[in-house]
Amino acid sequence: MAAETFIILDHTPLHSALEKIEGIDPAPIIHAGLVSLLLVGLAITVSRSYKSNPRIHQEEKTFTITNFMEMIVGGLLNFMQQTMGDHAKTFLPLIGTTGIFILISNLLGTIPGFDPPTSNLNTTLACAIVIVVATHYVGVRTHGVKYIKHFMGPVLWLAPLMFVIEVIGHLARILSLSFRLFGNMFGDHMVLGIFMGLVPLLIPVAFMGLGVFVSVVQAFVFTLLSILYISGALEEAH
């Protein structure tokens, strides 16, 4: 069996304080908190550099953290505009936040000594529920009462049947969104851990490369699907 993995944040006072509460696994909570702190710090740094010099992005030719964040956010906005059109700017805060949070969380797993918070089902379920609830909120806000037509199907006498089927379909979205991310990250981390225990030299590098690839692709898939779901709620029922 694989050697006992050493998690740095398991040895903090916060961990032992949270451990006393019944039924709580403190590791993903602390790691998610770490990712959130990291992102808040990054956002504050970048916005400060914009405030001090609004033209910074046009002048600087070297690689800075501001340029890097601008590249990521600009790329995401560009991608969203291709699929959503004018609505892209409205939903950039929601989709960008979940997307970047998931990306950083996934990538945290490739650093030895850290657990990705997304390898726990609770974290991914929270993200998926936020996205699906936001989808329906957006639907009700844009269509009002007519949003119910999305659940009715084409024929009126089939409506009660279609309603049940649509509700099952929407619940399946939550399940598939959360389980895909959780399964990929959990499996990836498990494979990496086991090979690290078996052959500590050279071989885990290949799996780390695979881990980076899976992290980026899964974060992208989550973002893509949330964009699709929200634009599905925006369009007219047919």
Partner: protein, 76 residues
């Protein structure tokens, strides 16, 4: 622009399999819960599992209707 669009489509359709499976599982779980509630085992379980299958097929049809441009790319 052809390559990235194909890549997005592949990601989109790869997500379909899990969604179809999840629909059946959700239907089954709803059926089991309702059967326990109204003590009508096994009828509601069967009925809601069928609903789950229909929901899965509906997701497939929806995805197929949206994926027309895959075909267009093949013709070029």
């Amino acid at each position: 622009m052809g390559k990235p669009k194909l890549f997005y489509d592949l990601l989109k359709y790869s997500s379909l399999g899990l969604e179809m499976g999840a629909a059946v599982v959700i239907g089954l779980l709803m059926g089991i819960y309702l059967d326990k509630r109204f003590e009508t085992y096994p009828w509601l379980t069967l009925l809601f599992m069928c609903f789950g299958f229909v929901a899965a097929t509906k997701a497939l049809i929806k995805a197929l209707k949206k994926g027309i441009f895959l075909e267009e790319e093949g013709e070029e």
